[in-house]
Amino acid sequence: MSDHNAAAHDHVEHPTWKQYKWVGFWLLVITAIEVWVYYTPFKESKLFAPTLLLMSAVKFGVVVFYYMHLKYDHPLFKRLFAMGLGIAICTMFALLFLFGALKIGG
């Protein structure tokens, strides 16, 4: 099976256990912070929602880029995913705006 023409795919460096475990670690830490913050007075703050969104966006990104190895993979996959995600997020915001539900944290 060595002579295949999938040049791009096989020769890239895949992350290893060392990296995976750190990713896993940060996922846990961020989740822990999220839940912790939920029980602090910060919950009432206007910044609560944006902060949480930011944290989950980081988690989202780490999983996608490292666990789903989008960072190392063919750029095509990045585009396929970004297109779906981009349109989905825009649509979601537009819908929330139209229904007057865009008052996160309020």
Binding site: V35, L76, M83, L85
Partner: protein
């Protein structure tokens, strides 16, 4: 969509390795396109949940709710059945329990990457003096099973959550919150369940004839991509639905 025991694609049929324009595997492109599409699916579900949040006319409600501190958009207190202004309704979402299930699901993603790495590294002999942990890392069966078990645990948590909600009087028919909550998390749960079955199938193949070689790496890889995506969706759901009020 041939599974491992098909003659197609490997085992000597060199000519059968089809030429592809990008050098990428068809199935991998398809799974990424599917994931792109699923973004839109979950965006619709999450939007619905958020739009309907606070529009239910009767309890139970997701978060702590009292008639006085009403965060119900545009609804006056008397719309809420049996609600005296002094009542404080208990939040129905149980953050501690859900945090645990979130934890399990996140860790399953870690197990999943390790399973993939183990399949990819098949054929590379372990370095001399490898400890039990190295051997463990090299066991794709172990990690596949671990992922499936964690997925099943997540489903277990979800069943527990659903039944306890039903006991507290919230079913899919109760109010808008119930309908949109159960449908959203139910869709996610269905995705997890499909993933668990998929993982178990891979595990079975691994037991039967061992997963190795390029084609098998691909098999595990697309399952992993799906699995991580389901995880990522949960990250969004956990924050948007459970934590942010």
């Amino acid at each position: 969509m041939a599974t491992a025991d098909t003659p197609a694609g490997h085992e000597g049929h060199h000519e059968h390795v089809h030429y592809t324009s990008t050098g990428l595997e068809n199935r991998k492109i398809a799974i990424w396109a599917l994931i792109g599409s699923e973004c839109m699916l979950f965006a619709s579900l999450i939007s619905t949940y958020l739009i309907y949040k606070g529009r239910s006319k009767v309890g139970p409600f997701p978060h702590e709710w009292s008639c006085k501190t009403s965060n119900v958009v545009g609804k006056t207190a008397e719309l809420v059945a049996g609600c005296a202004p002094a009542d404080v309704l208990k939040p129905i979402l149980d953050i501690p329990v859900t945090s645990q299930s979130t934890f399990v699901l996140l860790m399953s993603s870690l197990a999943m990457v390790l399973a993939l790495a183990a399949v990819e590294n098949k054929g590379h002999p372990l370095p001399a003096g490898a400890g039990w942990w190295d051997r463990c890392l090299a066991s794709s069966k172990f990690w596949l099973m671990a992922t499936a078990v964690m997925g099943a645990t997540f489903i277990g948590y979800q069943s527990y959550e659903f039944t306890s909600f039903v006991h507290e009087g919230l079913t899919i028919k109760t109010n808008l919150f119930g309908s949109s909550f159960f449908t959203l998390t139910g869709f996610h749960g269905a995705h997890v369940s499909v993933g668990v079955l998929w993982l178990l199938t891979l595990f079975a193949i691994d037991v039967k004839r061992g997963l190795k070689g390029k084609n098998d790496v691909l098999l595990v890889d697309i399952c992993a991509l799906y699995w991580h995506f389901v995880d990522v969706v949960w990250i969004a759901i956990f924050t948007l639905i459970y934590l942010i009020q």
